[in-house]
């Protein structure tokens, strides 16, 4: 298959015109194998000391050696006025405050976080315009819309010297290019992860393994103790998976079934929220739809909270750093992106947030506890059924209206 054919297919996939399974079958890319081969640290990965020269983990194709000293600290660009403020719109529990404090120490720029619960919530404000946001942490499926609408800007890579595409798995990086397959890059990966669920095993003795069970038990013995995201992509997607359909379905009949399920489940939920850590920590809720990073943080503090990647499927995702078009603090935004592209910084940040990284140089810097964490780096076999969200889902009226109806039901 030549490059153009691949690009067309990839475009179709992101448009949602073909299924991921079809795409995988045609292109020969298996999600799990791709992600794991590229991003899971080798079992023998050495714990890098200050002088250790990390070996870039094997990736498909030739991976040139990193062009920078991966152990180097980040230094602010010279002769650039960075101002004193940076506004980043991101997800709950996603950044180590120490990382942001370090950035302030080095630059004098305070990073102010805006927390959103879904990409759709971000999009709604971005469409109105005049948000004043600088940096965005959108998910893989948003770039088609953000690129075509000019919501995020084409990255000026000269301002991000520490970013080196060769350290990234090209397939995971590829959603950041718009039009798909072109050379115009709009972001680079922060990390990747899965959308499964966490269970407080102190309260629930039998571990659930599928979304089907998740929704069934919610309506039975776990009534009033379960949370799902306030997010059409994951909540509708996981309900679809529970019914045996694709996470990305936009089929009317399948969506109707999912709506029926969600409406039936709703009275039994403890809450519909994307910020579920507080209720899990306080014991108000016993089970919740969960992203990898939250699972790591919850399990770290409360060991009886376990993470499950549903055996029947669900979402695999990757989030990116991007610069909002018209960012009022554009220079600071680029400085921050460069800061986060520094392997040492990204690795340090990942120790807190717990989501798996993609930058091979940063992965090599992770301590053994982080790389050995089974929530962060799960068994590759558990990922085979997971699907990336497709671009059309961000703006799909059917999905948006469905979710709005479920919430107001």
């Amino acid at each position: 298959m030549d490059r153009n054919e691949f690009r067309d297919l990839y475009h179709d996939l992101r448009r949602g015109r073909i299924t991921r399974r079809h795409f995988m079958a045609v292109t020969g890319l298996g999600v799990a194998s791709a992600v794991v081969a590229a991003c899971a640290p080798a079992a023998s990965s050495p714990t890098p000391g200050p002088t250790a020269e990390p070996t870039p983990p094997p990736s498909e194709g030739a991976t040139p050696a990193p062009t920078i000293d991966v152990n180097a600290d980040w230094t602010p660009p010279e002769g650039v006025d960075l101002g004193d403020t940076l506004i980043m719109t991101t997800w709950p529990n996603y950044h180590d405050q120490k990382t942001l404090d370090r950035f302030k120490e080095l630059t004098g720029v305070t990073v102010q976080l805006n927390i959103k619960g879904s990409n759709e919530e971000m999009l709604a404000e971005l469409l109105v315009g005049g948000t004043g946001w600088d940096v965005l942490v959108p998910t893989n499926y948003t770039f088609e819309t953000y690129g075509s609408k000019g919501i995020v800007e084409k990255l000026d890579l000269t301002k991000i010297p520490r970013f080196d595409a060769s350290r990234y798995d090209q397939r995971l990086l590829s959603p950041a290019f718009y039009p798909a397959g072109s050379k115009d890059q709009y972001g680079f990966n922060k990390d990747w992860g899965t959308t499964g669920f966490t269970i407080n095993t102190k309260q629930i003795s039998t571990l659930l393994t599928t979304w089907k069970e998740f929704f069934e038990r919610t309506q039975a013995d776990l009534s009033g103790k379960v949370m799902i995201h306030d997010y059409q992509l994951t909540s509708i997607g996981s309900a679809l998976v529970a019914l045996g359909y694709s996470f990305n379905s936009v089929d009317d009949a399948e969506l109707a079934k999912a709506e029926e399920l969600l409406v039936a489940v709703k009275p039994h939920l403890f809450a519909i929220t994307s910020d579920y850590q507080p209720a899990m920590r306080s014991g108000d809720a016993w089970m919740t739809m969960t992203w990898t990073n939250d699972a790591v943080q919850l399990h770290r503090d409360i060991p009886e909270i376990e993470y499950v990647i549903a055996a029947d499927g669900g979402e695999i995702w990757s989030d990116f750093f991007a610069v909002v078009t018209g960012a009022p603090h554009r220079e600071a935004a680029y400085a921050f992106l460069d800061f986060m592209a520094t392997p040492k910084v990204a690795a340090q940040d990942a120790i807190f947030h717990g989501a798996p990284l993609i930058d091979s140089a940063a992965i090599a810097l992770l301590p053994a506890e982080a790389t050995g964490n089974k929530i962060t780096y799960p068994d590759p076999a558990s990922l085979t059924k997971l699907e990336f969200g497709t671009a059309e889902l961000l703006t799909s009226q059917a999905r948006a209206d469905l979710w709005a109806r479920v919430k107001s039901a």
Partner: protein, 309 residues
Amino acid sequence: MTAASRAALDRAGPWVDRVFRAHATLIYLFLYVPIGLVVLFSFNAGGHTGELRGVSLRWYDYALNDRFAMGALQNSFVVGFWTALIATSLGTLAALALQRVPPRVRAIFDALTYIAIIIPGIVIGIATLIFFVNLFGWVNPWLDYVWTAAGLGAPPVIGKGLHTVVAAHVLFTMAIVMVLVRTRLAGMDRSLTEASFDLFATPLRTFVQVTLPQLRPAIVAGALLAFTFSFDDFVIATFVAGPGQPTLPMYIFSSIRRGITPEINAIASMVLAVTITALVTVGLVYRRQARQAGETAAEPLALGIAEDA
């Protein structure tokens, strides 16, 4: 209350009194336990609002040095101040003018005032947001065109900001001020105004020396209300505030989403402390005035608060 009426009530028996007092006590507990908790946790040495881990003032220190929090507090003051000033002056002027217009005009104004008051904040927020977005989308290209044509360099760009918040807040609070002032005008002693005219005072002089002093309680109540509403409004501000200029309630709401720390409790406690100090001062002033005028001290305040919606 007269001695006779007190005697009449006393006949009701002490147990009734006790029931009322118990009920009142419970309500005050209900009102103040949450506020007590807010203040208590502001002294928390730990980092979470839920668990008390020793007593410290660190969060006060932190809050006072937090540029974003203090910026938000300042924004709220600025918005509250301008809202109160504009709403009170425009509302009072309109109320005075409405005395002298044909009934049909007055009816139209009454209807608009009525609508402005009953429309929920959320609808005001959404409607004004859509309006501003459309307005700016229409005005900015024109500014660009004019500036480019005139060779004036970079054209100014009008956008959302604190001014849009003030504009939206004034709508509701101005309506409230108008109602308050008109109610007061209705109960005003007209003979004083007439006497003033009889003494050949100019209309302006009559207004400043006779009308205004009589309207003062309504105007003060209106200004207080406008400030209180504007300072604490989250719903409207969240829609129409500009980028990077959150008001205090917006800052607090986003803190709730970020994971609230006792910093927020510290800010709330400081605002509360300032409020109570102001209330006590105002209360003392009113009590002195009331003693002179023979009114109950609480009434102007009562009037002021009852209208806060």
